[in-house]
């Protein structure tokens, strides 16, 4: 780890000051944006925070990046009861951030003093063994023990995140819950399997991972320098897997026997082989505990897979993870199988791998990228059960999927993660290493994630999964602008504020991000409504569905009026008036629409435009009117076409009348003749 550049700012925690400006966090803390604390936040921006109850500025507010949500469960768990020796979070919430952009903050106690390493620390020197054991190992191990008892991991242990007021004081662990677990850790401090993952996808891990980081921290402090400096992350991971972490980090370093033995145990590749925190609290006992872990057998000759040279099973897994297409090609061609048998002499693994390849050949057509990737995932899990889930070069642990999705949003990685979820790669991975996880549970979770992602219409996809797995991830839709919308009640006001700018009113105030956010944050099912939004054939039909959703949100949050959103939707919904046939009724509805838009009454707009009974009645009456007009036209046509018939009829009737008159006259004449 390269030390951060020196910082001219003070090396002591900020002194109490006037209350900070901005919104209260948890009703108690204010953030003083004018007093940043660069270098104190373990990689995150942080500011002085003031407890308004005590009036003391003895807290620190860490700014949460929008693509790196905080560890909610850990924060909530620790906030209820602080742990000694750790800067536990005391509150979290939104407040006004730098440049007037609202942000989420996690408030912790201020560090007792400068970090052991970094811009505010004294010049790096090799620590004495007793100081290391007394000031670092024992207090941190005890803190980890307490964390373990709370079922929480730290995942941020490194010299720059350890603080103490003065030499001789026990070190205090800094905060590590304002970002996804281990996402800010340099690769050197993480086990290689976590280091090869996406930053946000390293998962909560186990307390053993914290022990590993503590071991590297002890090594750095014991030697006064950072091992493997100047190497990139990929090279560090490769080296650790090739020769083992201890050999890679401390192979050429002279350590005291006590420290050396401790670190050797702490840097074991298998977390189960690392000493637990309770044992580390007693260094003598921890040193005595030795787990017989044989180094992985090394092949007589190496195997080139892409840019990685495989020399053992671990590096072979890494090679396939790094170059999956080449790895799959060599597996299907039998090259890997031959190498395993002849160069490594591991026929058991070769048979198992052969079964994986045979399964792929039997299940899917020859050219199927998903099948190839699934086979690579299975092969990696088989070759190295400690390895994370790897999908086409993207690695993560299953519980890190949320953080990985948050970090990869809008990037190529998001597509790959979506593919991984769709293929239920986690289930395939778990099935290959049942002794190290609960494959049934992981398979069920993978299937559930796939179902969420496959939800039809808006409200599905990786966005749905992203918001579902990250309860505090803010909505990243451009429709909310820079507003911080992390919870459902914050959505409608943000949309309303954005709608105030008429130039932003394009389409409807709903997109895939907003829809996914609503589905994920809502406690009632709205996916069906959003599916209808995706199926809407016209913009006005889509606007009506959006109106229905916004009305639901408005009534749920008891928001009185939304004039901007009403104006936005009203302009889109005007075309719906064409659906009303009766012109006088349409005119009346248009008049009422204008009134309700002006008042911002979305429910009334919906009542007006979505009155099914009235619309059915209108349609029925319109059809009746059309039928009546058709009958009228037919009758007019008949009347106009019947002129000749009427003329003939009139002539006939006229003749009959005349004849009748004549016959009458004839009869009278006959009677008169006979009488006379």
């Amino acid at each position: 780890m390269a030390p951060p550049p020196p910082d001219p700012l003070p090396t002591q925690p900020p002194a109490p000051a006037a209350p900070a400006s901005g919104r209260l966090i948890a009703g108690q803390f204010t953030v003083d944006l004018a007093r940043p604390m660069p270098g104190w936040g373990a990689g995150q921006d942080c500011f002085v925070a003031t407890d308004t109850k005590s009036g003391r500025a003895d807290h620190m507010a860490l700014l949460v990046r929008r693509d790196a949500p905080p560890r909610v469960q850990a924060v909530n768990s620790l906030a209820t009861m602080p742990i000694e020796g750790i800067l536990t979070p005391v509150a979290h919430g939104p407040a006004m951030g730098p440049r007037g952009v609202p942000a989420w903050f996690v408030v912790t106690q201020a560090p007792p003093g400068p970090a052991l390493w970094g811009p505010h620390a004294p010049a790096p020197v090799a620590w004495h063994e007793q100081d290391l054991l007394r000031d670092v190992l024992r207090p941190i191990a005890q803190a980890l023990e307490r964390l373990q008892a709370r079922h929480v991991t730290h995942r941020g242990i490194r010299p720059a995140n350890l603080f103490r007021a003065r030499p001789g004081d026990p070190a205090t662990l800094g905060c590590a819950w304002a970002a996804p677990a281990a996402s800010l850790q340099p690769a050197i401090f993480e086990p290689p399997y976590a280091a090869m993952c996406l930053a946000g996808g390293r998962g909560e891990g186990t307390i053993g991972d914290d022990v590993y980081a503590l071991g590297v921290t002890l090594l750095v402090l014991a030697t006064g320098r950072v091992p493997m400096a100047g190497m990139d992350d990929a090279a560090i991971v490769r080296r650790k897997l090739e020769v083992g972490s201890f050999a890679a980090l401390a192979g050429e370093v002279r350590l005291s026997p006590t420290i050396g033995d401790l670190i050797r145990g702490m840097l074991a590749e298998d977390p189960d082989h690392r000493p637990p925190p309770v044992l580390l609290a007693d260094p003598a006992a921890a040193r005595a505990r030795r787990v017989a872990a044989r180094p992985p057998p090394r092949a007589q000759r190496s195997l080139e897979v892409g840019p990685v040279t495989a020399v053992n099973l671990r590096t072979l897994a890494l090679a396939i993870a790094t170059a999956p297409e080449e790895g799959v090609r060599q597996m299907r061609s039998g090259a890997v199988d031959r190498w395993l048998r002849r160069a490594l002499g591991d026929s058991t693994t070769a048979v198992q791998l052969e079964e994986v390849v045979r399964r792929r050949e039997a299940e899917q057509p020859a050219e199927d990228l998903v099948a190839d990737s699934t086979m690579a995932t299975r092969a990696i899990a088989l070759l190295d059960p400690l390895a994370p889930v790897v999908w086409r070069g993207v690695a993560l642990f299953p519980d890190g999927l949320g953080g990985a999705l948050a970090g990869a949003a809008g990037q190529e990685g998001e597509r790959l993660l979506g593919e991984m979820v769709a293929a239920e790669a986690v289930g395939s991975w778990a099935a290959m290493r049942p002794e190290r996880c609960d494959p049934v549970l992981l398979r069920v979770e993978a299937h559930q994630n796939k179902q969420l992602q496959h939800a039809r219409g808006l409200g599905g996809g990786t966005a749905r999964l992203r918001y579902g797995l990250n309860p505090l991830l803010p909505c990243r839709s451009p429709l909310v602008g820079e507003a911080l919308v992390a919870r459902l009640p914050e959505l409608v006001p943000a949309l309303e504020a954005m709608a105030a700018d008429e130039r932003r009113r394009e389409g409807v105030p709903m997109d895939a991000e907003v829809a996914a956010f609503i589905v994920a944050r809502s406690d009632v099912p709205v996916a069906g409504e959003l599916a209808r939004l995706g199926e809407a054939r016209t913009p006005e039909a889509a606007a009506l569905v959006v109106l229905r959703l916004l009305v639901w949100l408005q009534m749920r949050q008891r928001i009185a009026a939304l004039p901007n959103l009403a104006a936005w939707l009203g302009s889109r919904l005007e075309k719906l008036l064409d659906g009303w046939h009766n012109r006088p009724l349409r005119a009346r509805i248009a008049e009422a629409l204008a009134v309700h838009v002006k008042a911002g009454a979305l429910p009334r707009l919906l009542d007006l435009l979505d009155d099914r009974v009235a619309k059915d009645r209108d349609a029925g009456e319109a059809a009746e009117a059309a039928r009546l007009v058709a009958r009228i036209e037919a009758e007019i046509g008949e009347l106009e076409a019947g002129a000749a018939g009427r003329a003939a009829s009139a002539r006939e009737v006229g003749h009959e009348v005349v004849l009748g008159v004549g016959m009458t006259a004839l009869t009278l004449s006959l009677i008169a003749t006979l009488v006379m």
């Binding site: 002539r651 006229g654 005349v658």
Partner: protein, 161 residues
């Protein structure tokens, strides 16, 4: 079917034969009467020959009207049936001829005029009905927007569209 078609002209021919026989008997037995009747009913005979449409209805009307006028003169006609001098006096007096022809003329006028009047009444009533229907249609179209939406499957645009 063919038998029925052939039977109709045969029946008509039988009437013609009967009429011819009657006329022949009249001419043979009472030539003055035949001449008198021929003169008196010459317009009706002409109409029967000329106006053959509608079953020679005009001719029949004239015949009926002529008969109604001539019937009071039946005894005179009967007495002069075989007397050429009386017959010529009767015809030369022009009273009977004028009366009979006048009646036939009146019949003809009525036969031509009453259908016209009847047709005029009918057409007036039809036009009024069509006007009412068009008015109702216009109101329906305006109220329900049927001009824009089209009728009978064919879209009719509004005048200002």
């Amino acid at each position: 079917m063919a038998g029925k078609v052939a039977a109709a002209p045969a029946k008509a021919r039988s009437w013609i034969w009967a009429q011819g026989l009657a006329c022949g008997l009249l001419v043979a037995t009472a030539p003055p009467l035949a001449v008198t009747l021929a003169v008196l009913f010459a317009p009706a005979a002409a109409a029967l020959v000329v106006a053959m449409e509608n079953g020679r209805r005009i001719g029949r009307v004239l015949l009926v009207y002529g008969l109604a006028a001539a019937l009071p003169w039946l005894d005179v006609l009967w007495n002069s049936a075989r007397d050429w001098a009386a017959c010529l006096d009767l015809l030369g007096g022009m009273r009977l001829v004028g009366l009979c022809w006048g009646a036939q003329a009146a019949g003809w006028l009525l036969a031509e005029g009453i259908p016209l009047v009847s047709r005029l009444v009918l057409e007036t009533r039809v036009r009024a009905r069509v006007a009412r229907l068009r008015d109702a249609r216009g109101r329906l179209e305006e109220e329900w927007g049927l001009l824009e939406e089209g009728r009978g499957g064919a879209r009719r645009l509004a005048p200002d569209a």
